[in-house]
C-alpha cells in the first residue's frame, strides 16, 4: 500500500497527489513513470512522476480526471492509500549541457516536463518553457516553471492568459530568433505531432514523450508498442521518450482509440454506481 500524503487540485479536473514511495523516489530520474493500480479490481495505468523528494521518500503524480481510473484516483484523499505502484519505469531523459533548450507543455504534459526542467537547469542549460492550454484555468504549475526556467511563455486558445494562439506559433518565433539545440514537447498527441512537423525543417532535435496504452509496463506484453522509424518499439522499456521526427503519430492515434468504447462503458458504470467502498480500500 502506498499512502497519499497530500492532495491538491491544480486546475479544473487536474489533481496532484504526493505519495509515500521511498524506493521509487530515491531512483527517480527525469522522464520516468510509474504504473499504478488503485484497488483489487483496478486496471494498471501509467503516470509520469511529476516530482520527487528522495529525502522525504515521496513522489508526486499529476493527472487529469478523464477516465474511470483517474476519476477514482481523484476521489482518494490524503491519508488513503493506493494498492500498487511500480517504478520508476522507462528510460531517463538524456540530460546534458545542450545550450538553449525549449520545453513545450500542453495541459498536464507539464507534469512530465517539470523534472526535465530541473535536470536541465542542474546542467546549466538555458531553458525556455512554453505552456499552452485552451484557457488560463487549464495552465498547470506556471509558478513552478517560472521558478526554474529562464523564461516562461504562456499561450491560450482564447487569449485568457499569455498570448492568444498555439504553442507552435510561439515556438516558431523562438527557433527563428535563437540557436535552439533541443525541443522537448509533451502534451496531447496532436500537439506533439504539430511541434514535430514544425521543428523538422529546421533540423532541431525534438523529443516527445508518448502515452500508448500499457498493461504491466515492464516490457512483457507489447501493448505499448509504437512505430519508430518503421521499427516496433515497446514504449515502456525503450521509451516513453522518442525522437519526434521518427514517430508514426497516425498509428499511435489509431491505437490509442482502440478501447474508446470500453473506456466510455467503464466511466458510465462508475458514474452510475454508488461506490460501496471498494474504491477506497
Amino acid at each position: 500500500m502506498y499512502k497519499i500524503i497530500k492532495k491538491e487540485t491544480v486546475a479544473p479536473q487536474v489533481v496532484a497527489i504526493e505519495v509515500d514511495a521511498p524506493y521509487i523516489a530515491r531512483h527517480h530520474q527525469a522522464g520516468n513513470f510509474v504504473v499504478l493500480r488503485i484497488n483489487e479490481r483496478g486496471e494498471r495505468i501509467p503516470l509520469t512522476i511529476a516530482d520527487s523528494d528522495a529525502k522525504k521518500g515521496t513522489i508526486t503524480l499529476l493527472f487529469q480526471k478523464i477516465g474511470k481510473t483517474t476519476e477514482a484516483l481523484g476521489k482518494l484523499n490524503a491519508g488513503k492509500a493506493i494498492r500498487d505502484i511500480a517504478g520508476p519505469l522507462g528510460h531517463a531523459t538524456p540530460i546534458k549541457k545542450y545550450g538553449h533548450c525549449v520545453l513545450v507543455g500542453g495541459g498536464i504534459g507539464a507534469a512530465t516536463l517539470f523534472p526535465i526542467l530541473k535536470a536541465l537547469k542542474t546542467e546549466k542549460n538555458k531553458v525556455t518553457t512554453i505552456l499552452g492550454a485552451r484557457e488560463q484555468k487549464l495552465i498547470v504549475w506556471e509558478d513552478r516553471f517560472k521558478e526554474y526556467s529562464d523564461e516562461v511563455l504562456v499561450t491560450t486558445d482564447d487569449g485568457s492568459s499569455g498570448r492568444k494562439g498555439l504553442v507552435t506559433e510561439a515556438l516558431k518565433e523562438i527557433i527563428e530568433s535563437s540557436k535552439v539545440k533541443i525541443v522537448i514537447a509533451v502534451g496531447p498527441i496532436r500537439m506533439m505531432q504539430a511541434v514535430s512537423e514544425l521543428t523538422r525543417p529546421y533540423g532541431v532535435k525534438t523529443i516527445v514523450s508518448l502515452n500508448p496504452v500499457m498493461v504491466e509496463g515492464t516490457g512483457m506484453c507489447g501493448a505499448c508498442r509504437v512505430n519508430i522509424a518503421g521499427k516496433t518499439k515497446f514504449a515502456c522499456v525503450e521509451g516513453p521518450e522518442f525522437d519526434a521526427h521518427e514517430v508514426d503519430f497516425e498509428e499511435l492515434v489509431n491505437r490509442l482509440g482502440f478501447y474508446r468504447e470500453e473506456e466510455a462503458e467503464a466511466m458510465k458504470a462508475f458514474k452510475k454506481k454508488k461506490c460501496k467502498g471498494h474504491c477506497k480500500k
Binding site: E43, V215, E216, F258
Partner: protein
C-alpha cells in the same frame, strides 16, 4: 483423464480436466510394472522416484505418494497439470511401446490434489534460522523453488516480484481452465509458511538495483525473471488494432480478469473470428481463451504440421474437441486492415516441409500458393525473448543469445554471489525445468554461502 464436456467447457473458464478418482488412481497405479531400471525417471527433468510414488498409490497410501514426490518436486499439483509428460516420463514408459503408457501426470496431480481435499496440511521440517539473507528476483516456478528450498535450510529469504501478484507465468500466462489460480495461491501460501517474504511491485533494476541488495546485506541473489518479452514477426499490419501479442491478451484475462469487465476495470476486445499464430502452449492457451470470450471461429495458424507442434498433446486434443480449427503449413505474411485501422483479414503462404533444420524439426518452405483468412482479430504467439530491464542493469553479467544469463550447471553466473535459472537462463522452456534449475541453484547458493562462512572463520 476425465474432462468436462467440450461444448459446455468452451464457454467458461472452469478447469477442463477433472482428474482421477481414488479408484481410478489405484487402478492406474496397479498397471505399473515397477521396472528395475525405470525409463520414466530418466525422462523426468527432476528425477522424481516415479515407481516409488506409484507403488504407494497402488497400496492406497495417498499421502505417502505425495511425500515421495515432494522430495523432488516443489509444485506437484502444478506440474501434474502442465508438464509435457508425453515427451518426458510418460513418453519413456515401457508400456507405451505396445499399449498406453501409465498416466504419470494424472497420478502426480491426483496425489497432490488428494492431500488438499483431505485437508492434510504438510509439515515440513525446517532448520533453525541461520541469519543469512538471500534475495530471489522473480516469483515464477524457478524463484519459488529456490526460495522454498533455502528457507527450509534456515535462510532468510525475500522474493522481489515486479507485478502485483506472485507466480510468474503461472498467474499471468497459463489460463484458469488449465491451471486454477487457487492451486497457485496454495503453493505460494506454502512457500510463505516457510517464512519467505514476498515484496510485490518491486522491479529490480529500477526500484532497487542488485548492488543495493548486496549492500543491504543479502549474501546471494538468485535471478529467475523469466523470458517474458514477446517476439514479433515483422510482417505488415502487426500494429493494427485488434492484433494482440498472446502475452498481452492472456495477461489481460488471467492477471487482470478482463473477461469480467466492467466489474474489473481492464477490458479485452472480444472478436468473432480469431487467428492465433503459433504452435506452442501459448498459442493453445490464447486460442482457447478467445473461444471462451465468445469467438465464433478460432484458427490456429501454424507453419509446420501437427507432428512438429511443441504444445502439450493434451492441450491440442482439448483445443480440437472444443472446436478450434487448425491451419497447418500456413505462414502469415500480411495482416490487412479496414479503413479505420482494424484487422479484417490475414494473408498466409501455403507451406511445404523440407529438410530438418538445427532444431531437428523439418523446415517449412513456401509452396508458392497463398490464401486469405477472414478474421477480425489476430493473436501472435510466436515465441518469447529475454526481458532487458534487469539483466542490462547488472554490469559485467555474462549473457548469451542476446540477453539470456550464462550460467554453470549449478546455476552460478560469472559474478560471485549472483545465480540464475529458469527461462532467463535457458530461453523459454517449461515449468519443471525452471523448478529443476531452482533446486540446483538452491544447493549451489547453500554451498556458496557456507564457503563464505568458512573463509570468515579462518
Amino acid at each position: 483423464m476425465r474432462a468436462r464436456d467440450p461444448k459446455i467447457r468452451n464457454k467458461d473458464f472452469k478447469e477442463v480436466s477433472l482428474g482421477l478418482t481414488e479408484k481410478q488412481a489405484v487402478k492406474e497405479a496397479s498397471r505399473c510394472l515397477q521396472c528395475k531400471k525405470p525409463k520414466c525417471v530418466e525422462g523426468c527433468p527432476v528425477e522424481i522416484d516415479i515407481p516409488g510414488f506409484i507403488s504407494a498409490l497402488r497400496d492406497s497410501d495417498f499421502s505417502g505418494a505425495l511425500h515421495v514426490i515432494r522430495k523432488y518436486n516443489m509444485l506437484p499439483a502444478i506440474c501434474g497439470r502442465v508438464c509435457p509428460q508425453e515427451n518426458q516420463c510418460q513418453g519413456r514408459c515401457i508400456l507405451g511401446r505396445k499399449k498406453t503408457p501409465i498416466s504419470i501426470g494424472a497420478l502426480e496431480r491426483f496425489s497432490a490434489d488428494y492431500a488438499v481435499k483431505k485437508g492434510n496440511t504438510e509439515k515440513t521440517p525446517k532448520k533453525k534460522p541461520n541469519g543469512h539473507k538471500v534475495a530471489v528476483i522473480g516469483s515464477g516456478p524457478a524463484g519459488l523453488t529456490v526460495a522454498a528450498d533455502l528457507a527450509r535450510l534456515g535462510y532468510d529469504i525475500t522474493i522481489f516480484e515486479a507485478l502485483h501478484k506472485p507466480g510468474g507465468v503461472l498467474v499471468y500466462g497459463i489460463p484458469e481452465f488449465r491451471l486454477p489460480k487457487k492451486i497457485i495461491a496454495r503453493e505460494i501460501e506454502y512457500v510463505k509458511s516457510l517464512g519467505v517474504k514476498i515484496k510485490l511491485n518491486w522491479v529490480v533494476g529500477r526500484t532497487q538495483t542488485v548492488d543495493e541488495l548486496f549492500e543491504e546485506g543479502f549474501k546471494a541473489v538468485f535471478i529467475g525473471v523469466g523470458a517474458g518479452s514477446p517476439r514479433y514477426m515483422s510482417i505488415p499490419g502487426e500494429n493494427l488494432n485488434n492484433v494482440y501479442f498472446a502475452a498481452e491478451f492472456l495477461t489481460r484475462v488471467n492477471l487482470m480478469k478482463a473477461e469480467q469487465f466492467p466489474k474489473y476495470d481492464t477490458p479485452v476486445k472480444k472478436a468473432k473470428k480469431v487467428a492465433v499464430i503459433g504452435g506452442g502452449n501459448v498459442a493453445m492457451d490464447a486460442a482457447r481463451t478467445a473461444l471462451r470470450l465468445g469467438a465464433k471461429k478460432v484458427y490456429i495458424v501454424y507453419r509446420r504440421t501437427e507432428n512438429e507442434m511443441p504444445t502439450r498433446l493434451e492441450e491440442l486434443e482439448h483445443a480440437k474437441e472444443e472446436g478450434i480449427i487448425c491451419k497447418f503449413l500456413s505462414n502469415p505474411k500480411e495482416i490487412i486492415g479496414d479503413d479505420k485501422g482494424y484487422v479484417k483479414a490475414m494473408i498466409c503462404d501455403e507451406m511445404k516441409l523440407c529438410e530438418p533444420d538445427e532444431s531437428g524439426r523439418r523446415r517449412p518452405e513456401c509452396s508458392g500458393k497463398e490464401f486469405t483468412l477472414d478474421v477480425d482479430q489476430v493473436i501472435m504467439a510466436v515465441g518469447q525473448a529475454s526481458n532487458p530491464i534487469l539483466v542490462k542493469s547488472i554490469k559485467g553479467l555474462k549473457l548469451w543469445g542476446g540477453g539470456y544469463i550464462k550460467i554453470d550447471e549449478d546455476g552460478s553466473s560469472n559474478i560471485p554471489g549472483i545465480f540464475a535459472g529458469g527461462d532467463i537462463a535457458t530461453g523459454a522452456a517449461t515449468v519443471i525445468s525452471a523448478m529443476g534449475a531452482g533446486k540446483r541453484a538452491a544447493r549451489a547458493i547453500h554451498t556458496y554461502i557456507s564457503s563464505l562462512k568458512k573463509v570468515r572463520k579462518r
